[in-house]
């Protein structure tokens, strides 16, 4: 497998919503590269006959009776939010309007 590049690390940081400094980019390129090289003991194997296991016992839908039950109190939940407005979570402007 091709070696991990600095520009790939920068792209992944963008996907993950993280800002990395130049030093961090250099360090992560080396460190993540080492981990991926260790993972090459798997890529050499022919596992084409095996099914993947995403979960130890397989996931099944679990449904409960469709009955109204109490849930967390809205004000209690919003009290823990960084910002709230009129019973909702508040975030900075999303649409690009003129200020």
């Amino acid at each position: 497998m091709a070696e991990l590049t600095r520009s790939e690390v920068a792209h992944v940081a963008k996907l993950a919503r993280l800002t990395l400094s130049d030093e961090e980019l250099d360090l992560f390129t080396v460190q993540l590269g080492k981990i991926l090289i260790h993972a090459q003991d798997m890529s050499a194997l022919d596992l084409s006959e095996l099914l993947p296991t995403a979960h130890p016992f397989g996931l099944v839908n679990v449904l409960r009776a469709d009955e109204v039950r109490p849930s967390l109190d809205r004000d209690v939940v919003l009290a823990e939010a960084p910002d709230a407005h009129e019973g909702r979570f508040a975030v900075p402007r999303i649409l690009g309007e003129a200020p």
């Binding site: 790939e8 993540l32 003991d41 798997m42 890529s43 596992l47 296991t53 016992f57 679990v62 979570f89």
Partner: protein
């Protein structure tokens, strides 16, 4: 130290008060927490009220539960209403959960007294507590060394005698490894046996809550209280809590136990010697020891360090500065999220999010994540074949005794290797226990690991009890 079993018995009999037991526990916390950094938060007010409630029940002639008046420490990735839950991360700064984890509800119903929240590697990502945003925990047996991790604070709480019990979570060894390094008993139960409701997710298909205790019997007692079906966790096994304490002294006569080459290879000589002595002790107690090799286990580390970061990168996407914890402002919502995550997460968490995002990204998914999931299948099949021939497996918990601060923290791969013997159990969703057996370098404890198939907890406790007795702790 007084066991949980005897505390609960005495409190229920009215011979000791829960309040006096709590006071004794808090005195040790007060004496040693500044040095060891075990607790991030001590809930003096809540614990005092809960102990008083236990004493009140006893005064009314009621049974106050199987853990009546027993102080317990909680890893700070489990939600407890009204007190800070941080995951040892800046990103949850100031957050107080609006609900209890199921394990907290069950502990309180059983009469236990949660005294506070313990330090961990940030979001349980680490093997030494050195990635905690609030400084590392020190090993009570040698404060120049790490307690292991990620549940290092919970292991240290029991090792220092602060509380007879604590809860940890184990995603790749995070209960068993610190238990081994601190000289206490640590159990990773079968996936789904203990509800994950209110456990802050790291890698959801691997995470499992389990007990720390000074003795095997106390460990079984705690697991009985917290196990059993919970409708609020869709992955919870559909059955009641198993009977465990009653089987602790069942022994191992007639059992076949596999001594696994791959679960000792590369370990220090003192650790290998301890595992061999443990095999002798089990043989002397009537077990048949079979030497065997499971080469697939060697692939566990590689598969784990793709699967766990992949799940983590998804689970930790929720820390975006909108609903809880830290927010760092930015010009628009995306800038706010990026600034919040950049300021809130430490280096190891960022590294794992990056690794997981990469493994799941277009062009690499099949080669890395897809292949790792097939290795998981390979490992499950390999364990199943082994359990066709033996009842349990035996090996080391860790390659070495507790290491010094800084010994591995600059090299992620070296740190990851300290989980090499514990990871396969998580990938397979099975159960394993670490029990102190013999001592190694500098007189430090060694953990011997016993592994079993899913739902083998009673057998694991019984085998661990044999080793406990053989090691001079009747």
């Amino acid at each position: 130290m007084t066991t949980a079993l005897s505390i609960a018995r005495d409190v229920n009999a009215g011979e000791r008060s829960a309040s006096s037991v709590l006071a004794a526990s808090l005195a040790i916390v007060a004496a040693r927490n500044e040095e060891l950094n075990v607790f991030l938060h001590v809930d003096y007010e809540g614990a005092t009220a809960m102990a008083a409630a236990v004493d009140e029940r006893v005064a009314q002639g009621l049974n106050a539960g199987p853990l009546a008046g027993v102080p317990i420490a909680i890893k700070d990735n489990m939600c407890q209403t009204g007190i800070p839950t941080t995951c040892s991360s800046r990103i949850l700064d100031g957050w107080r959960p609006p609900y209890n984890a199921t394990v907290i509800d069950r502990l309180i119903a059983a009469g236990a007294v949660p005294v506070g929240k313990t330090n961990l590697d940030e979001f349980a990502m680490g093997s030494s507590t050195e990635t905690s945003a609030f400084g590392p925990t020190r090993n009570p047996l040698d404060p120049t060394r790490v307690p292991g991790g990620s549940s290092g604070g919970s292991a240290a709480a029991v090792a220092a005698g602060m509380t007879p019990l604590s809860l940890g979570s184990d995603t790749g060894g995070s209960i068993r490894q610190p238990a081994a390094l601190c000289g206490v008993v640590g159990m990773k139960p079968t996936y789904g046996l203990v509800s994950r409701y209110g456990l802050i997710a790291f890698a959801s298909s691997l995470d499992q809550i389990g007990p720390f205790a000074a003795t095997v019997t106390d460990s079984a007692l705690l697991l009985e209280v917290i196990a059993g079906h919970d409708p609020r966790d869709t992955t919870s096994l559909p059955e009641p809590s198993p009977v465990l304490v009653a089987h602790v002294n069942d022994g191992v006569a007639g059992k076949r136990i596999g001594l696994v080459r791959e679960l000792v290879e590369g370990a220090d000589e003192d650790v290998v010697n301890a595992v061999n002595s443990a095999a002798e002790a089990l043989r002397a107690a009537g077990a048949t020891i079979v030497e065997l090799s499971i080469p697939e286990l060697r692939l566990g580390l590689s598969a784990y360090y793709l699967i766990a970061p992949a799940e983590a990168s998804s689970n930790l996407a929720r820390y975006d500065g909108v609903r809880f914890g830290l927010r760092v402002n930015g010009d628009d919502v995306t800038a706010m999220m990026e600034a919040t995550r950049t300021a809130g997460f430490g280096a190891e968490v960022k590294r794992r999010i990056m690794l997981g995002t990469y493994a799941l990204s277009a062009g690499y998914f099949d080669a890395y994540y897809g292949q790792a999931l097939k290795v998981r299948t390979l490992m499950i099949d390999a364990f199943r074949r082994a359990y066709d021939h033996v009842d349990l497996l035996l090996g080391a918990t860790t390659p070495s005794v507790a290491f010094a601060f800084g010994a591995k923290s600059h090299d992620p791969m070296a740190m990851y290797l300290s989980d090499v013997f514990t990871i396969p159990t998580n990938l397979a969703g099975e159960a394993a226990i670490s029990v102190p057996f013999a001592t190694g370098e500098a007189g430090l404890p060694i953990g011997v690991q016993i592994l079993g198939p899913g739902r083998s907890e009673a057998q694991l406790f019984a085998a661990a009890r044999v080793l406990e007795i053989a090691d001079g702790r009747p």
